[in-house]
Symmetry: C2
Subunit: 368 residues, 2 copies
């Protein structure tokens, strides 16, 4: 499989910030896994979070594509997704030139998905791996961080975006910065989701960033590291690609070897094991839109003077920081503070901002 | 207009409590005025609160009728209502034997409505005037208080039920007890809705009851007092009755004189002006179901161990004292405390218990 835009020679230039950046085409790899049940009842199994117009009139997936399309420093996107959503993806890709779609035969977490893409690319290709269901307000800052990361990737680093932390968030993993590198830092330590006290320490120290699940590395380097740390996974991915087939813009890996993989995240399988982990700082208005409170934060620009946000026909009375999204019925909110009200189809969800993390465990979300 | 059951002779007997009670037929007069917008969106202009099955499978109106039907100490009920709801009333009266319906040509508050009924009854008839939209859990206690009140009414008192106050409620008027009378007390003072500090004083003093809007008096006595304190209203009511007509079980007063009445409540027009005001204590599980929080209190027997009450398909998670009523959509409530969620037709209302008082002022309720 040849991706012509990657055949352009690498070109290096000195930016105004004095950081050596590589401006040849970077290969975006958009991951469409995950159910997103924490945004139930709007996000459902049939049409999950990436494919919904949550923040703007574009879906999160369309935004992820638009973030890299039309900029010749980036190649046409490669999308990795499960069979169930291929139709949605092809529809939302529209006429994106050169886009390709890799269909996962089974859901095996991020490491096998990324390895599939890597195995389909020339070894020297720099991959920019992005979730399809995050919001990034500042696309220019995103692309700038990607270019810095690509330069590090060419220097044999496996790079993670370090998202600027602006609150003691307990829902994300953290990256602790080590020695400075050109355009970024070595990663001293990966930290699992902390408790609040520890998250407050991290924020105060200034040494920590959020691990946003955005990665940059050379395809061949990623596969070498995978072979070192997860040899069986690397072998089965290679087998799945060797036995796979093209059909239009889609690539179908061989189902049997892929299904045999023990799934794992790219963090656990590779990033936490390599001694070449690096990070580039990224302050780009990022949100994983991980729950209704996070979506309401991402929409803060639409809030009324009391912090209330309405999507649909809504009246607020004596409310503060209330978020309402309705696909039809008129909603009246009275005397509430810090509550999210979601009306979708035959489901009504009312949750505190604090409760929003647990929406995916509600019977309605579990028993869809 | 002859009401045959009222022609039975009065019979007095000594009860086990030693109170002289009159057991001849008391004439129930059920008032169906009022919009009940504080129970919007379930209570709407077309089908307001009395005609909805809020507390049980019976509507509040049906409960008001059943409370006095089938007990020969009470005559067949007389209902006073506006034109708009005559159809609902006739349907919900079903085959109640002997029931009559007085149609108000216009809404003029309670004094003219009650005076209409009084003018249609023999002067010696004891009327028991009840709102149609209150809940009374203990019908036996209700009837017992009515009998005590009837005895006082025959002794030329205008009697108000004094509802046992069990909390410092600021939404009701209060009655201060004076000298004891057989089966009740003189009323020393009528008090308007107090502020919280004053309501707490009233509750602590033990001298105050809630004014529940339930009255007992002789028809002729009421009309005499009305003529003394509101002569113009008395004159116009008499004229409306004289010019009225019967049609089936309905009586239609003449519209022009009735519409010319300056509306007023029975409290303002008569009760606060007479020197014959009395009260009978009534501890009967009363609620005016004045808002969603009050309804939820009336349904406390249905609460789960966390105080949550569900009408419809509902899941609660980490909730306390949450009330949900849905006419269809499934509702999920997460992390909430003291919130009412109402789903009705194309309207969703979410309010705190405190906010429930203000529901009638919401744009959705005002602009039905």
């Amino acid at each position: 499989m040849a991706v012509t835009s990657l055949q352009a020679p690498d070109i290096a230039r000195q930016t105004t910030k004095g950081i050596l950046q590589d401006v040849s085409a970077i290969q975006p790899v958009i991951l469409c896994g995950g159910g997103g049940t924490r945004l139930w009842p709007v996000s459902r199994v049939a049409v999950p979070k990436p494919f919904l117009p949550l923040v703007s009139e574009e879906t999160l997936f369309e935004q992820a594509i638009r973030r890299v399309v039309g900029d010749d420093r980036f190649a046409a996107p490669m999308v990795v997704a499960g069979t169930d959503h291929a139709g949605l993806i092809i529809a939302q890709l529209g006429d994106t030139p050169g886009a390709r779609l890799v269909i996962e035969p089974a859901a095996r977490n991020t490491a096998p998905a990324i390895a599939l893409a890597a195995a389909l690319l020339p070894a020297e290709t720099v991959m920019l791996v992005c979730p399809s269901d995050h919001h990034i307000a500042d696309a220019v800052a995103f692309r700038s961080a990607a270019l810095a990361a690509a330069a590090l990737a060419r220097d044999d680093y496996l790079v993670s975006f370090g998202i600027a932390a602006d609150r003691p968030e307990t829902g994300y993993g953290y990256l602790q910065r080590g020695e400075p590198l050109p355009g970024g830092f070595a990663i001293r330590r990966f930290v699992e989701k902390p408790d609040l006290a520890r998250a407050q320490e991290y924020l105060a120290s200034g040494e920590y960033s959020w691990n946003g699940g955005i990665f940059v590395f050379r395809a061949g380097h990623l596969l070498d590291e995978l072979a070192a740390h997860r040899p069986e996974m690397a072998r089965l991915v290679a087998e799945a690609v060797a036995g796979g087939r093209d059909e239009g813009i889609c690539f179908y890996p061989a189902p049997a070897p892929f299904a045999a993989i023990a799934g794992d995240s790219i963090d656990y399988a590779v990033m936490e094991n390599t001694d070449r982990a690096a990070m580039v700082p990224a302050d780009m208005g990022w949100s994983d839109i991980g729950n209704w409170a996070a979506l309401s934060d991402a929409l803060a620009g639409e809030a009324d003077p009391n912090g209330n946000i309405a999507r649909g026909q809504v009246d607020f009375a004596q409310c503060r920081n209330v978020f309402v999204m309705s696909d039809g019925p008129h909603v009246s909110a009275l005397g509430l503070e810090g509550v999210c009200i979601i009306v979708s189809g035959n489901e009504v969800l009312v949750t505190t901002r604090e409760g929003a993390q647990a929406v995916g465990k509600l019977p309605g979300a579990v028993n869809q």
